[in-house]
Symmetry: C2
Amino acid sequence: MTVLTDQYAAERAAIDAGLRAAAARLPAPAARITAYHYGWTDEAGAAVDANSGKALRPLLTLLAATAVSGDWRDAVPAAVAVEMVHNFSLIHDDIIDRDHLRRHRPTAWKAFGVNDAILVGDALHALAFECLAEAGGERAAAGAGLLAQTVRALIEGQLADTRFEDRDQVDLAECVAMSEAKTASLMGCATALGALFGGGTPEQVEALRDFGFRLGLAFQHVDDLLGIWGDPAVTGKAVYSDLRNRKKSLPVTAALGSGHADALELARIYRADGPLDDQGLRRAADLVESCGGRTASQRAAESLTAAAARGLAGRRLRDEGVEALASLAASTVGRAS
Amino acid sequence: MTVLTDQYAAERAAIDAGLRAAAARLPAPAARITAYHYGWTDEAGAAVDANSGKALRPLLTLLAATAVSGDWRDAVPAAVAVEMVHNFSLIHDDIIDRDHLRRHRPTAWKAFGVNDAILVGDALHALAFECLAEAGGERAAAGAGLLAQTVRALIEGQLADTRFEDRDQVDLAECVAMSEAKTASLMGCATALGALFGGGTPEQVEALRDFGFRLGLAFQHVDDLLGIWGDPAVTGKAVYSDLRNRKKSLPVTAALGSGHADALELARIYRADGPLDDQGLRRAADLVESCGGRTASQRAAESLTAAAARGLAGRRLRDEGVEALASLAASTVGRAS
């Protein structure tokens, strides 16, 4: 299921143009790696039409601007900034997690080396603030402050995530807090910045931040379900990918903490040394399911999405924008069903 | 020679307090590594009074605010932001350059691992923009834009620097451009932000940016002289450190491009494989000198410092601030004499 990739053609074109214009300011080696990372070029620099990601976050920014009765065009710098921060964090996280593939292609550090990947991530990070700052005035300063706080949260989440790997036990509450920091905070920032740049009231900015934050957590539940049961052709990852890596994802953490008899066997599998074979992977997936982990994440995603939509009521938002956001939310959660 | 470390006690205390207050917002693991990097704590987290650097850049920011007849206290957030960007780039550059020591102690990545060092650098980068943004209003947005452009220049310089290592020949012009991007741009940003936050006119901001930029390039010439002839007890680096690493620094590049007969022998030494012994290091240093590289950098540092000071004339600046900046500039260049 696509995330409304055929809709909002004008918005998507504006995001793409904004990203390309910003990237063109980078020094040549950084511009080249950025173009590769975004899927605009191959490793040799030739133009290609690779999958450059869903651009979900910048689209949320523009729809939030519409929802507060603003002109989405005013929010393009904010949308570009959010997408740049997202991609800076992907590039650095891929180094940290030693991930070799992203969107079915070698990650930036695999293709261009760790040193250049660190610097390109730094460049996109700075460029995000440059885009926001150029919008000028109070909204630029407020937006930069919000974005910087969000990066702080992203880093808190990534620090927690790297530490979870070394621990036998992680509470569901800790795992939720990590997912909030790593994923929900940036989605909340995306919608808040859209509302801010669309001229929304402080209450509307706050309501749209809550919307994005809940949707972001729902998104992570769905992502974690796909990390176990997703179709490799769609996810670009190996089947049972998160179980292979013994990742303490939301459904797994829910299963481990369920008190169900099968949780002990799952915990043993997670504690064991050496790679899991196909039978072990299937067994682990079945145990996550029998312990209620799959259902827990499905229900959490649905209830968060419903709560996100409800939170927009009574905020004097434009119906068209609210419907678009609700539809985007539904399709995001729909990925796993 | 110290860089006025005993002067400006109130300014230095405000910078220190600002840095500590900002660092306290970081998630615990990042705060701990930041405190270590700044020399506030040892690797175990116990308070120490290590050498936390000269804090030259934030002091330049506060003196620039004074020079435009502003209250330096208004420029503390900008000073803190500049110092955070400087330290984020040091932490990432140490990873990239595989440097094991900084200020006589293990670098952040040596002490805490590459992954955490990447994340802490990212956190300080974001925190710099958070500090600026909180100042609010047009100056915050303008300052964030200037700081972001500066980070772009820093990255351009670092990308160039990593590529110089793989090349046999580097023009002096290329080496100067790299030093401008890597060092002069942030010093120019430091003084420009001080002028901006001190309420200076656009012309004053520009004049102070030029001052900082020239001083920064002078500073790099001096640093490169110390990289060859500096006292290890002062620099914290091995004697002939830059020659050991066959670094294409400013005096070396000037010597190699001098057309002097000895330049060929120096080029052979730089192209040869394997480490240089003590005799080879002394010979290389002598060749840089006989080719005029040492004199060239000494003269460049002096003339840049003089030009920096001259550029402040006729800008309706406060004498007290101009004298302080000129004195700081003279002491910076005086390090090498």
